[in-house]
Symmetry: D4
């Protein structure tokens, strides 16, 4: 078969496998979704363009689309059809993930992180367009930064934002470089290098544009918190 779904994953790592939409045919995605919905209440696919969503929707009627995040999901067991996630407040993990973006154009990646986290049962706060060129926009939000349990910081161009945030914050910072920029940004290489070389220690970097991976890591951290809380 063309796909071996890793059903043990949720048991091992706490997260079910998620479909990476890029480079799969509509048929392949639908087949995988149908297998996965047997086992997990949220079936999620990333990197889904609007046109692909429309094609999927015509076959999978309970499919939900989060356009700005390019994510679609089947959410089973919702209490009402308007619900964007299947969780009640009580079911959410303890702690808050604050997602910060540097510029307007970084939004799709930042939303990919935010929606992935929300669909995985975490509470998210968003702070958009607070790049370092106008540092007061960030400093005005010191309280929000201080309240975070984990921070996901998304930035393209020179990618300096995670360094400044990590200098202000008291929690782990996950840095996501984006391919936003031109010329010597080299499709995100510039912010990637910036983040890896940060003079603020305590930053974990993920791949360029990988909002998904940042959310999984943030979630992994909050799940660790939860384990200790319960023990």
């Amino acid at each position: 078969e063309f796909a071996k779904i890793d059903n043990h994953r949720a048991l091992r790592t706490g997260f079910p496998e998620v479909i990476w939409g890029h480079g799969k045919t509509t048929e392949q995605i639908i087949k995988i979704m149908n297998v996965m919905r047997q086992r997990t209440s949220v079936v999620m696919a990333t990197r889904i363009q609007p046109k692909v969503y429309i094609a999927l929707k015509s076959e999978v009627s309970d499919l939900q689309y989060y356009e700005s995040a390019r994510i679609c999901a089947i959410i089973q067991g919702k209490t009402s059809p308007e619900d964007l996630t299947p969780y009640t407040i009580e079911e959410l993990y303890p702690g808050v993930i604050v997602v910060i973006s540097a510029g307007t154009a970084d939004l799709p990646v930042a939303e990919e992180a935010a929606i992935t986290a929300e669909l995985s049962g975490f509470q998210v706060q968003r702070l958009w367009d607070v790049g370092v060129a106008g540092i007061h926009r960030l400093l005005d939000n010191r309280d929000l930064i201080a309240s975070a349990s984990v921070l996901i910081v998304v930035a393209g161009m020179e990618g300096a934002l995670p360094s400044v945030v990590a200098g202000l914050a008291n929690s782990p910072v996950i840095a996501v470089p984006t391919s936003i920029g031109y010329g010597a940004s080299f499709n995100g290489l510039a912010p990637l290098l910036t983040m890896l070389n940060s003079c603020s220690a305590g930053i974990g970097v993920v791949n360029i544009d990988n909002g998904f991976g940042a959310a999984i890591l943030a979630g992994q951290i909050l799940r660790t918190v939860a384990k200790f809380n319960q023990g």
Copy 2:
């Protein structure tokens, strides 16, 4: 003055500033150490070669050296001179950081992570030389991996180890590429790219050879755990 010690840092981020030994003169290091010892019980410097340690030691008599980690430290308030850290077991943060290395040659970076974590008040378990070329060496240690609160995985050459560990683990993974290798390793570029592109989500990557940064991030995660535990 040539250095502005960031004394607020401990307040803001929970970790005091640490001296990066590379490219500083012995005189500069001693001056900074003497200022820092006024305020913090552990004064730490990384990337200290044996010769530099000898020069420092002749001026700073209570300096301790962790040779395999290339770290030296002043530890004030030790109960006995043999103590390698100033903490009693009760004072340690909850949770265990498991540090895993792929090859013998990755040891200095792995020890930099381990010692930094221990000097910052965290409990560490080491697992050395379990590279993916002999996967059974890793699989034999599944229990240790499962017991970790955070994992730091250090690997040079092709850097595949964090992907495999993250597929087995149930906690956040911090990946540290090393410059060990030759030819197309391009001084650590190869394992760096490997780790950033991992098909296992939930991995945060730090700079090549940056054992220190990995430990700070791991510590940041366990401090978040501790905050919730106390609340």
Copy 3:
């Protein structure tokens, strides 16, 4: 003339020249095919998109298409029109080529390898979607790996699979990096470097996405086996 077909090649190297479809006009491909069919029973072209196949088919009525592999071929001397290869089991070379792929998206490259090998007279076993993020999927297939005479391992993203396979296997491993991935994969540079730096010795690497070349090398190995067998 625009093309000098290398008719000596089959004599020298045991494989006839194969048409690289990329960047050739339909007319050029047909002309070359018609010259080649005079001399060899299997005429093969790689990197043929579906639209190009349709155009070729309307001129070359006995053309066969292997869509997932993007290969088309004229197979002369088939016993029945349904045959996908011109060989009977007895005519196949001794030994089995096991082709392994890491992810669903690597399939076109893996199939290019498999079909090229089958059309050249080799026996192939396929094992798809067993990437290292869920290592048990690979470990469950240890017997298949052990039974291989040669292994072709195809992987994109971080490309760690060949290292793990070579650590388990008892036969030569040919590693094929793919351009599947994004961001710091840099169109396949990441898995290419991974494979070249593998800590498992005994791996030969071919170009990014070059399933064809991997199959030719695997075939060359089995032809060497056959020479000794006959001697």
Copy 4:
């Protein structure tokens, strides 16, 4: 002859040619200095290691050394031997160049900029070790930044400082990336890309470690100011 001294340069561009010490023999440097001292009151050489200075000094008795800047100079027409520059306050150009550095290790480059500017007749203010990891160190110096006519901002590692400074400043910013860092800094490539991609417009970037070039550009700007002032 091995060197064609560009004597027109001072006429054309306002700055005499300066000797780039790197890769020249002591003999070559002395010969060029002796020709140049005929025409200009300040003869300057950059990238001079202490050992080279000692060799030069034994031949050129009025040579001055600025060790932290790795510069040596012949200053003719000083009023007293202790003078570090030949200018009285009145002779200095209008305006102040503020030189800012991110870390202690960036000092040689920052001093190269500062001393070059001072030897060329400009007033300089230094602000050292105010990297973005502790942003308050920079914010505490807003007045100094506001008082600058031109800013030279020197930073290694991730090189984020110029972006933040340019967001606060009301004058041109010249950014100097340094080769300070390791791993993915790639000898200064990381901060170079950061500075070129800055989301703060109004930043001119010079080569890695090129404190000299930054000072010449800053001087060129203040000379333009002076031209208008005189007109």
Copy 5:
């Protein structure tokens, strides 16, 4: 909200924020323009393709388009509708920005610089197509170069022009590499490196194709001139 307009910017840096059109939807651009027109007499957006302009124009009737510069602007308070800028000669800043381009294909970037400067209140002189392959074309314009207060030099391919201009000029040079070229130009990397390594000191480099940033830096320099003039 998706955008936090940095209204303090004009106060801090003297230039209002400008909309970077790339990757924004028409709706987003219109919304931001409408907010910005409340506060500033010139609202400017860069990187606007003709089709996007047409869409914007149908909603924003007083929008002006500078096609060769790919800029559109709302200019409030013009004395007559034909005016391309809102300034009278008397209102312009002192000094002249000379914009020089190497080849015909560099024009869009050179015009981006020129129009940005003109819309910001500066006087501009253009000199097009004077690349170093026919050096006499440049030498014939020595007077224009000498008359400049600041020079912006735009070049693709090998990017040698700024070095030659800076050797002739008596004012600051801002170098803009363009992505014009092919093969080993690597989308502008070649001229970028050329400009950073210039043997003519006194050159500040901006990002590939960043005519906008060059104009802001040139303007910053002339505003510094103006401050002294007034004092």
Copy 6:
């Protein structure tokens, strides 16, 4: 412990683990050798400089040195002390590995391949200094090429030799790029890319300077031959 010797390896892959001398202390190497000599008749270490050999020899009296290959080995069970390998002709695997090098300077890498193969029980033929600039030197050796069961082709600079050899040969070709060259060779990147892009299919590439890995792969191929021969 700092090293986990992979004793299963010989069982799994047919080759015992070999010590990579680079970056290990003399003490570490001796300790590992002493453990390994308990289990295998040939204990081998690569990348051993003459000085390191001398230090090792003073502790390990039966150590043998192959200077041009930078390899040292303990060979147990030799019939006479002069023997360079422990094998009689009859014990060697069937088939011949022909090792070809392009230039005199490639010799250390070519010898690393040859000696590794000989110490592993394979028959080797050497052909040195037959680079493509004088193609007749290669064409004069067509018979040797035709007689090979496997070819290892070692080349630096432009690395064109494997392409030509593979066009002439009737057996698998393993290509080893070397770091010999300067300038745009970028420490072996140039021949590495050449070999990966070869228009001759059937070439497996190993890391830059990795003569060891090439020999292991060649051996793996001949062991596959042997398996069939026996069966």
Copy 7:
């Protein structure tokens, strides 16, 4: 004006300026052509796609198109409309340029070289598809190689052909890397590096895909020959 045609160029360098079609509008090309036809008998534009040619042709009725070379030209003073060049045999420069290409896909670049040379008054011989994978195809043409006054060798993929040709030839070799290939060819970087590192001395390399530049250099060499012949 947007273009300063370098009319002195023919006087200085012997070749009139040629229009680089890439990135120019049809209008710009026509305007430049009309100015140039006043002064030179052959007006030539490179990188003209078929569609652009059709648009140009409708305005410039005497335009000629060389499709495989992507060149169009106005040839004034032809004796008959079928003439592809304006020269009689007697008018051609002495000597022959032999243009050699490695693969079928390299043809457009090879033809760009050949047509440029022919339109500039040189005699050309073509040898197509003689890549090193089948070296006999090249060796069969030793006489043609020996008869050349200058050789232009065009190759993509690994670009080994110029090294082999230069080893056989007795005249200057100009090497043209092409962007033909995929994966680790990195758009022509691989053959470019190959050619620069050639172990055969006496090769001058031009930019990737720059058939035009190769022809101008070859012509420059034959014009030098001609100068001496006349003297």
Copy 8:
């Protein structure tokens, strides 16, 4: 044997093989020299450091050293021991090679070109230190440029000189990038790219620091001239 001297080379290409000193032992060089002196009147070795020369000289008493070019040579058949070349003026090839260098530090490479050409029987004119930052230095030498039959232009840093020279010259230009520079010069990558992208057509580029190869190509051109002259 470790070296296969290519004795046919002089017959085929007109130049005897030359020893590349880099990475060869003194013994190897002497052995090769002694073989070569049997067949050719000038035996030449490049990249010879002073210390290596001294070692060689003690064994080869008639060895000559050209220190600034790092070349040593045995010149047989000199009329007097002071002769630096074995040729009388009449024996020299027709035409003059003009070697131009941009900076003092480029001299070793420029001299390598000049001495190689002189030892091969060509007439050379040198023009040193005429970089583009002071263009008048070059323009003052227009007559020399015009008198050249071939030009070799050597430049490091930004490498702009060949573009300007080719725009002035009427003969073929060979461009040699050097590794002189720092930071973003990336060991000569910057001038290499500059030269490959030159907007002046008719430039052939050789490897970084390859003065030798430039001389061989220049010689090849003049030998072609000579062939026609004789015919």
